[in-house]
Symmetry: none
Subunit: 133 residues, 4 copies
Amino acid sequence: MNITLEEAEKVIAAAKAKAKEINTLMNIAVVDSGTNLIAFAHMDEAWLGSIDISQKKARTTRYFNMPSGEVGKLSQPGAPLYNIEHSNGGLITFPGGLLIKDTEGKIIGAIGVSGDSVENDHIVAQAGADALK
Amino acid sequence: MNITLEEAEKVIAAAKAKAKEINTLMNIAVVDSGTNLIAFAHMDEAWLGSIDISQKKARTTRYFNMPSGEVGKLSQPGAPLYNIEHSNGGLITFPGGLLIKDTEGKIIGAIGVSGDSVENDHIVAQAGADALK
Amino acid sequence: MNITLEEAEKVIAAAKAKAKEINTLMNIAVVDSGTNLIAFAHMDEAWLGSIDISQKKARTTRYFNMPSGEVGKLSQPGAPLYNIEHSNGGLITFPGGLLIKDTEGKIIGAIGVSGDSVENDHIVAQAGADALK
Amino acid sequence: MNITLEEAEKVIAAAKAKAKEINTLMNIAVVDSGTNLIAFAHMDEAWLGSIDISQKKARTTRYFNMPSGEVGKLSQPGAPLYNIEHSNGGLITFPGGLLIKDTEGKIIGAIGVSGDSVENDHIVAQAGADALK
């Protein structure tokens, strides 16, 4: 099962609303279960470097079916997946990427958010991922 | 001057409406005047390979301030810009990319559309570019 | 707003003068607000590997609107942005990159300097960034 | 023997003057005999896609010690070096790249110019290459 464009647009709208609510500027990417980009939005004046990072967070999340930040815990020096970021054309392994599931709990895609502290990136990603619940 | 996200969303909505009208499935990318991705939409079941192509058409258009298909006329074997596609991380030089201008005629970004024949790609791109006129 | 070539040349001249004053050899890159290379200078016998690094420092700075060294504090093992360097085709996150602003404080580009200790890279970058004040 | 920064700046100044004289906007790159970037200038509002192309023309020229356009004659379909553009991270093989020699005729670097028709690119590159004669 794959997320539809209509669903991805709902995810992005919810993420954008949350970003405005907490007064920040974000880049928001939604990929499907095959890690293909489905929808993307760059809020005006958001960090340009986060256009790429938001997409990489979404892909990283779906590549390993866990939040991007969980991959990051495993990729630290001495940890089991040290420097896994070198794979797949470049991963981003800090928070801001979350799986998107359908109402039955099946993975249909992932959201990646970047533009502020990782805490705020995560809050906005959560709002996006929750939009389909 | 750069296209805003609100304007880019209008461009994508107009392009999607045209794609539905002519019964096709498209990938639609909008970049700003610095060739940064501002908004993107992948219609359900559209070609996956066109996710990248639509973005490259938009960038190619802005890189040289002409429709992507015009670059392609110049890049044929024996033509002046043969194999220009090897620059800038890969160009796409067939039709489907058009400049986006503001009401005063100033370039604010570009649209790239891919998913069907280049004729249909161009028709959908035109509908998107016309949305801000 | 984007830095002009004339302004970028002033920035490079000031950085070169400072490099000579402190008796070092530098690579100096200036990008515009869209991270496009506007001007570059490699001082005779400066490190060849720093040609790329100076450009990446300038881009990193503009990507996140902070000195490249500030990104580096956040990208250490255990820190929030660990391994962010894998994004955007490769970042450089140690000092030597600074924003360039116009007289009203608006970001118009960034300078990246590389060729010596990061302390000296920073000193030369600062001289360049200050040239438009 | 390598071109010095002072010489490269003379080359760029001469190329810029010629570009202004013929009323066009160019990107101008100078590499040394090792194909390393020594100096670069992007004239305001020149094509963004030509930032990369000008550098690739300069490198292509020095890689094979012939004008970039000569390589292009050999890279056409059916010709001996068909699709040589795939090497070295991407070549650009149309006119606009010329060798730079010292007063004894020894190669010290190359200039690459991009921003207009290949005829004008060549004219501006020639003015730059002639500056050290």
